[in-house]
């Protein structure tokens, strides 16, 4: 099959997945116009979540995965309608940016699509980990026990992304690791929709929200050919969903915020191990800033993340971790890690970080932005400290992973920084009809 035909098949599958997600989203986002763009992004996330869940359920019950997805989609949409949120609040659409900024954002997505789709996904970690597991699940219609002891394939990693690959392949009827790369610009676009929509809803001007979105759209350390196929782009999307819904839940913006937070926690825990870490940090932020609602906000997402981890138990590693050892930790190793990180960044990266610092200092203190900054800061701190446990030394882990792991924090950081330029703490676009 030629690439064009395969791409059409994957695009059709992604459209169906999105439509299911948008249908389900009525129980997660209020029916206000201000949520329009976020609904599209959340629709992609929820649809992917349904597909991820459908694969093990179908394989476990002997149902063809394609039919499993149909059945679970119907259940999700019906349940969504039953639990749908209502709102009498009137709000305006998020509005648009200038044609120039819109063009810059669209071109950023197009250039990433070109990078992602030039050739079949090729990164070492795709071939050894994410793609290998997805292809095996699809081809074997199950999860062979040997994968739980295949050290280089990291059996301790969660299976959300491999299940998503397998699910898309079940929908299209073939494993095509080239056309399936379309998933990545699709997730990038969903990230940008949620980022821009949330910033506008929380009072950022079209220019501030547009500049943040354009900067993320062109952020090559994340949206690169190399990271296509790996878990960073999906995690970056999940972290934006998680961070923005945490900020919404803490500010009690709408009745769906805690539901969204819970769904996002489950998603990030299914994508990467640090998803659970961010869920714990989110719960701690909820306990500190949540006032009377602290437990109500902290418990559901943490429980969801832990449940996802527990569901992975049958497929978890049966071998000890080879790359990390608790007894190796020392403060001098943390310093080694920091020194290696300092050497890793080039001049342009330092200038970029200095500009981000200027943007943080020049903005005003906004609770939502501050909390997102704390969440992103906790992620950076973890990525700098974890190498102190590395068997092959802190420098090795810093050099091989730091740039890509911290790159996944870029959309979350952009949301945090741009939120400091919101017109008022919770002001959103106003519907002229209310005037």
């Amino acid at each position: 099959m030629t690439l064009v035909l395969s791409l059409l098949a994957v695009a059709a599958a992604l459209l169906v997945v999105s439509a299911v997600g948008v249908g389900t989203s009525v129980s997660f986002l209020p029916p206000e116009r201000a949520f329009f763009l976020e609904r599209l992004g959340w629709g992609d996330a929820l649809g992917c979540a349904v597909l991820i869940a459908a694969v093990p359920i179908a394989l476990g019950t002997g149902l063809a995965p394609r039919w499993g997805f149909v059945v679970l989609s119907a259940v999700a949409v019906l349940l969504g309608r039953r639990l749908r949120l209502t709102s009498r609040r009137r709000s305006a659409l998020p509005g648009s940016v200038s044609i120039a900024l819109l063009g810059v954002i669209a071109l950023g997505v197009a250039v990433y699509a070109l990078r992602a789709l030039t050739e079949p996904m090729w990164a070492n970690d795709f071939v050894a980990i994410w793609g290998l597991k997805g292809k095996t699940i699809y081809g074997a219609a199950g999860y062979p026990g040997r994968l739980t002891s295949l050290g280089f394939s990291h059996p301790e990693y969660p299976l959300g992304l491999p299940l998503l690959y397998a699910g898309l392949s079940f929908l299209t009827g073939r494993w095509d690791d080239h056309a399936m790369a379309l998933l990545f610009p699709f997730l990038q676009a969903a990230t940008l929709l949620v980022l821009f929509g949330w910033l506008r809803r929380r009072g950022a001007s079209p220019t501030a929200a547009g500049l943040a979105t354009a900067t993320v759209a062109w952020f090559e350390p994340l949206y690169s050919a190399f990271l296509t196929g790996m878990a960073e782009v999906p995690l970056a999307f999940g972290l934006v969903l998680f961070g923005t819904s945490l900020a919404d839940a803490l500010d009690d913006t709408d009745a769906g915020a805690i539901r969204r937070l819970t769904a996002a926690a489950a998603l990030i825990a299914a994508i990467k191990n640090e998803g659970l870490f961010f869920s714990v940090v989110g719960a701690m932020l909820a306990l500190v800033f949540g006032k009377q609602r602290r437990w109500k906000i902290a418990i559901p997402p943490l429980a969801a993340a832990l449940l996802v981890r527990a569901l992975h138990w049958p497929w978890r590693s049966r071998i000890p971790l080879a790359d990390f050892e608790g007894g190796l930790f020392s403060t001098s190793r943390v310093w080694d890690s920091l020194a290696a990180a300092g050497q890793l960044l080039g001049a342009s990266a330092w200038i970029g970080l200095a500009l981000v610092a200027v943007l943080i200092l020049a903005g005003r203190s906004v609770a939502a932005g501050n909390r997102l900054l704390l969440l992103a800061g906790a992620g950076v701190a973890a990525y700098l400290v974890i190498p102190a446990f590395a068997v092959r030394g802190p420098s090795w882990l810093i050099e091989t992973t730091l740039l890509r792991t911290t790159a996944a924090l870029a959309p979350l950081t952009a949301a945090a920084v741009a939120a400091r330029y919101a017109a008022s703490p919770s002001a959103g676009p106003v519907d002229p009809a209310d005037a």
Binding site: V104, P120, T136, A208, A212, E220, I351, Y421
Partner: protein
């Protein structure tokens, strides 16, 4: 200058820095690659891409062996595969979902082949009972 002015300037410079830092030169190369390979089958696109650049002949062997081995195979024993981590991963990926075992490299030391498994020998020459590929041989299934 107001704080908003400073912020606007910093945001503009940051976006410009990111735009200027793009690997623009690769874009025409990517377009050329896509237009040359888009109409080819998936394996040819992988053969021409980055994932096999370190040893295209070995990938060609893997793909030819994969096509020759029936779906009913229970696994693959690889002989004389290069001892190189990325090539090991590529081998496992290429044959997935079938399990792959790497046999001894020393000539004449035949590994025990489980029932229903096939053997693929990289660089192997013609021999009775073996299918000859351009880059090696395949035989099986083991009884």
């Amino acid at each position: 200058m107001t704080r908003r002015g400073i912020a606007g300037g910093a945001a503009g410079v940051l976006l410009a820095l990111i735009l200027l830092g793009q690997s623009w030169a690769e874009i025409p190369r990517r377009i050329r690659f896509l237009s040359a390979f888009a109409s080819k089958e998936l394996a040819v696109r992988r053969l021409g891409g980055s994932g096999t650049a370190f040893d295209r002949r070995y990938f060609s062997f893997l793909e030819n062996a994969r096509r020759r081995i029936p779906r009913s195979a229970k696994g693959i024993v690889m002989l004389n595969a290069p001892a190189n981590e990325p090539l090991t991963y590529l081998t496992m990926y290429q044959f997935a979902p079938l399990p792959v075992s790497f046999g001894p490299v020393r000539v004449g030391l035949e590994p025990s082949v489980p029932s229903g498994w096939f053997v693929a020998e990289y660089g192997g020459g013609p021999a009775p009972g073996r299918d000859l590929l351009p880059e090696g041989t395949v035989w099986g299934p083991a009884p």
